[in-house]
């Protein structure tokens, strides 16, 4: 997979658009079981990422991902900043400039481990890991962009009946059941946006 400057620029814009366009939806999910700032926080973070264009897309892929991660850590606020930011930073550290699928599989595995360590959490606790982990499995089994995006969406919906064990929603105990985890939803949107761009690049 080769992502030239134009493709990197498209990727950044697609990621940012997915958060900015869904800010209200994410906020209303967070109002149900969190503190209602998730949509605004992610929007602020990705607006800062957009503001780093065009220079951001001049960077090689690993450097670009690390820069996105750092920006999210500094700007998002809330626990999502360090969690999503760590994912991008670790992905950047682990990927070569022209990654093959095997590189992507290995790098996402490392990045997910870093998110688990940062949040002292694992899949099954109604967090973004409940999307990241199953999507990584589809990626490692050879699923294409469409399969990855579909699994991301399904995985976010699977958080609805889950009991929150980590994060703000865990304060609600059983009342967290019946609502989609906002962090899972935002990660599924980001994955969907990235998968669509990568799929198009693979075809071109």
């Amino acid at each position: 997979m080769s992502l030239d400057r134009v493709a990197r620029d498209k990727l950044v814009r697609a990621l940012a658009a997915s958060m900015i366009q869904h800010a209200e939806e994410l906020t209303s999910l967070d109002q149900a079981i969190g503190d209602g700032d998730h949509g605004l926080n992610m929007k602020r973070g990705f607006e800062a990422v957009l503001a780093a264009l065009p220079g951001l897309a001049d960077k090689p892929l690993p450097e670009m991902l690390k820069a996105i991660g750092t920006t999210l850590v500094m700007k998002v606020g809330g626990a999502s900043g360090p969690l999503v930011g760590t994912f991008f930073m670790e992905l950047g550290k682990a990927l070569p400039e022209q990654p093959a699928r095997a590189d992507l599989v290995a790098a996402t595995d490392k990045a997910i481990s870093a998110v688990k360590a940062r949040g002292r959490s694992d899949a099954g606790q109604k967090t973004l890991l409940d999307v990241l982990v199953p999507v990584q499995t589809v990626l490692s089994e050879g699923g294409d962009g469409n399969a990855i995006a579909a699994e991301a969406t399904r995985a976010a919906f699977r958080t609805i009946p889950m009991l929150a064990i980590r994060g703000r929603a865990s304060f609600l105990g059983e009342r967290s059941i019946g609502h989609m985890d906002p962090g899972s939803r935002s990660v599924s949107l980001l994955i969907g946006a990235a998968a669509a761009i990568l799929e198009r690049e693979a075809d071109s």
Partner: protein
């Protein structure tokens, strides 16, 4: 903010609310005086409720002491952002900053009290954490 006298452990207060952070810092000052380097931070980068890594890094720098810095936090994001900030510190400082598992107001006061007596970073952390023990 950090008095020159002090080889004492510094205290950083991190709350989602700048008012809580500042108020807790006021209580520490009133009860423990100026013998302890102290800094607070609260709010997201737009000034709303939340925490931010840049603000935490700045507070750590303000309260810096060779004896180290103990951070008191309120809710989840404050803790995650504080841990992130610690990891972003220069390597020689990283090992001398701890995030305490303690209530933010009571923890800050007891940690500062312990620090003002010249206790080590480990002892300061232990005192603060006795609230949840």
């Amino acid at each position: 903010m950090s008095s020159a006298s002090s080889g004492n452990v510094g205290i950083v207060i991190v709350s989602h609310s700048p008012k809580i952070a500042e108020g807790a810092a006021d209580m520490v000052r009133q009860m423990v005086g100026n013998a302890v380097p102290l800094a607070w931070t609260g709010g997201d980068v737009d000034g709303g409720l939340g925490t931010n890594v840049a603000g935490i890094l700045e507070a750590i720098a303000t309260a810096w002491s060779p004896a180290g810095v103990a951070i008191l936090v309120d809710l989840g994001g404050a803790e995650t952002n504080s841990e992130m900030a610690v990891e972003m510190l220069p390597e020689d400082r990283r090992a001398r900053v701890v995030v305490c598992n303690a209530p933010v107001v009571e923890g800050a006061v007891i940690a500062a009290t312990e620090s003002s007596g010249g206790s080590s970073l480990a002892a300061v952390k232990r005192s603060a954490e006795e609230f949840y023990a």
